[in-house]
């Protein structure tokens, strides 16, 4: 049975066609798929493409990033509230998460147009609260990441060395005080 094993040149169809045309493959040996391929060829010829490790020239991005207008709202939601109170149920295809509800409410309020731009976010939070969705703030976007110095917990500022030295001065002071007391008593008693 004749064949052509050159998979890097042409397609299976062209190679088989050439074998048939050349008379190497007889009519009774024509494979089952040949007529079907002739009637229904694929969209793109299955030619061999040499693997190229490096791309030369400017790399044009053909796969676009998918972003929606609501993503801005989603990003803000996650920054302020973290992941919502309810876990995602991925098995349900029609599941609406807390974030999605927030986005829908936000777009609804935006469409109504009564609330100004800056207050939309707060307004949506309040509206959801009215509906019964508890949203806990993680850290507001208006406040910078650091807390003001005067509000910091004083315990955070303490260092081990300072604590030890304090302890030592305490014990020394106590010993001194006791010593004085004892002396005082001792001096007192022989009276």
């Amino acid at each position: 049975m004749a064949g052509s094993r050159l998979e890097k040149f042409g397609t299976i169809f062209t190679r088989m066609g050439d074998l048939i045309r050349g008379g190497v493959v007889k009519a009774k040996d024509v494979p089952v798929w040949y007529d079907i391929y002739a009637a229904f060829p694929p969209k793109k010829d299955p030619l061999y493409v040499k693997p190229m490790a490096k791309r030369y020239g400017k790399v044009t991005v053909t796969v676009p990033e998918i972003f929606y207008k609501e993503d801005a709202v989603r990003a803000k939601f996650y920054a302020v509230y973290g992941t919502g109170p309810r876990a995602f149920e991925l098995s349900k295809s029609n599941f609406i998460s807390t974030c999605q509800r927030f986005v829908e409410k936000y777009s609804e309020l935006e469409r109504q147009g009564e609330v100004p731009e800056e207050a939309l976010f707060e307004e949506t939070g309040r509206a959801l609260l009215a509906e019964g969705v508890m949203l806990r703030r993680r850290g507001g976007p208006s406040v910078s990441g650091k807390v003001a110095p005067e509000n910091r917990d004083p315990v955070l500022g303490m260092r081990l060395k300072d604590m030890l030295s304090e302890l030592q001065t305490d014990t020394a002071g106590k010993a001194q005080a006791e010593g004085e007391q004892v002396q005082g008593e001792s001096t007192g008693t022989p009276h």
Partner: protein, 306 residues
């Protein structure tokens, strides 16, 4: 049973054309197209051999309106020596009505559109991608629907002609599913380690005169070390067409009928298995029907050999 085979939903045409009864030679296409069912039934009753010359056109253009059985077509051909059972299906774009089997929504719900991360992307898969959402590639389902339709159509035609189909997948998770699916549609599967010369050295490994598959269907084109499966290159060498489900990290270059889609999620693979099984069973059933039809209307001629 043959009555069941030839049952047709007749299109609503004008009443005048219903006068076309068996003794009338077939005239214009309108009369033909609506009267064929009645004609053929009448033929059996009156015992006349099929003398239908012109071709009946465009019944398939109406897609779902018609019954699932094969349309009764005249079996005598114009070209002598032509085997109509084999050539007739090739003239219809969707002879087996495979577009009914799936829709874009089904593919979406089976998560066929989910690809791998951006870093795993294969350069040649970029034309098949819709976009990249937060670094995860999303496969373009519009293209997938078209390519899946073409692939299933090709598979159906190969099964119709009695071709041997081999299912290959090296994913251990789906090995049992693929094997049971192949057994259910009467075809073959190879989901274990692929020895080097299975296709290229078959006469030595299996014995002389072994018949190679006429189509290889890959449910996943990668092997367990994320390299392209050897069978893709070997099938191209042995001039065997391939149908392959390609994820965003696969190489589509040598696959004859690529199907860009998810090959990792169980629900997606179950969908592919279901579609291939239904396609092949449909094609084999139609072949049996066509053989019966040809045999009945043309009792003197030989059985068509595939």
């Amino acid at each position: 049973m043959l009555l069941h085979v030839l049952r047709l939903c007749l299109p609503t045409n004008d009443i005048n054309s219903r006068q076309a009864l068996p003794l009338d030679p077939l005239g214009p296409a309108t009369r033909e197209s609506m009267a064929t069912g009645k004609l053929v039934k009448a033929f059996w009753r009156f015992g006349r051999p099929a003398q239908l010359s012109g071709r009946v056109s465009d019944i398939h253009a109406h897609g779902r309106l018609y019954a699932s059985a094969t349309v009764a077509q005249p079996v005598h051909s114009d070209i002598p020596g032509e085997n109509r059972v084999l050539t007739q299906p090739l003239s219809h774009p969707d002879f087996f009505r495979l577009s009914e089997l799936f829709s874009l929504k089904d593919l979406f719900e089976a998560r066929v559109h989910l690809g791998h991360k951006k870093g795993c992307r294969h350069r040649l898969m970029e034309p098949y991608l819709f976009g990249c959402r937060l670094d995860q590639d999303i496969i373009d389902l519009d293209q997938t629907v078209e390519l899946l339709q073409q692939a299933l159509n090709f598979t159906a035609h190969v099964a119709y002609r009695g071709g041997v189909i081999l299912f290959v997948s090296r994913r251990r998770q789906f090995c049992h599913l693929v094997e049971s699916m192949a057994r259910d549609c009467g075809e073959y599967a190879h989901t274990r380690f692929w020895r080097g010369g299975l296709l290229t050295n078959a006469p030595i490994q299996y014995g002389p005169g072994v018949r190679l598959p006429d189509l290889i269907v890959f449910l996943s084109t990668l092997n367990n070390v994320f390299q392209q499966h050897v069978a893709i290159r070997d099938a191209a060498k042995m001039n065997i067409p391939t149908v392959g489900v390609l994820d965003s990290n696969c190489n589509p270059s040598l696959v004859t009928f690529p199907i860009p889609g998810n090959d990792d999620t169980p629900c997606a693979v179950e969908l592919y298995c279901k579609l291939f099984k239904m396609t092949i069973n449909r094609a084999k059933d139609k072949r049996r029907q066509m053989n019966l039809l040809h045999g009945f209307l043309n009792p003197g001629s030989e059985e068509p050999h595939s």
